[in-house]
Amino acid sequence: MQLGRVIGNVVCTIKDARLLGQKLMVVQPIDKHGRGKGRSIVALDSVGAGVGETIYWCRGKEASFPFLPDEVPTEATIVGIVDEINLPVADRK
């Protein structure tokens, strides 16, 4: 899984029927210090995340498992909202 921040959402009127009712969010991956890292991606949401929140997300086939028994075609899904990132003092930069 990776850390990220929700920076927006995507609206699709025409889409795969199994995506109906799913929220599509734009996620900026971040490093452990909260800094943006790499290119943003679009991910489904399984936990009710909102814009501005720090989240963690999962990629690959596993990303569709929160929606079982529905087989949702997604390769990235937000699976948790981060309350706190704990780093030992020596590693804070």
Partner: protein, 93 residues
């Protein structure tokens, strides 16, 4: 599998139900010489690892889910061992 070092953890109250009860570790993958290999990732813990431990990290869904004991769950990385030593012949580093 990769060699990594646990550098912190993440607290998330609102998360996918299958992650409840497992620590979410921040793991920095390492090269053989001990330097960083890419960005730190989040992995579920299956061996009670802690900050500072050198660990064995799986980065693929099936092995991660199996190790954590939560099949059909959105887990793409897991810590599955705490490394005592890595023995390499001269020059392999």
């Amino acid at each position: 599998m990769l060699i990594g070092k646990v550098v912190g953890d993440v607290v998330a109250t609102q998360k996918t139900p299958s992650h409840v009860g497992r620590k979410i570790l921040i793991v920095q993958p390492l090269q053989l010489d001990g330097s960083d290999r890419g960005e730190a990732v989040l992995a579920l813990d299956s061996v009670d690892a802690g900050v500072g431990d050198r660990v064995l990290l799986v980065t693929e869904g099936f092995s991660a889910m199996t190790a954590v004991g939560r099949p059909n769950s959105p887990i793409d990385m897991a810590v599955i061992g705490i490394i005592d030593t890595v023995d390499l012949p001269e020059g392999a580093r």
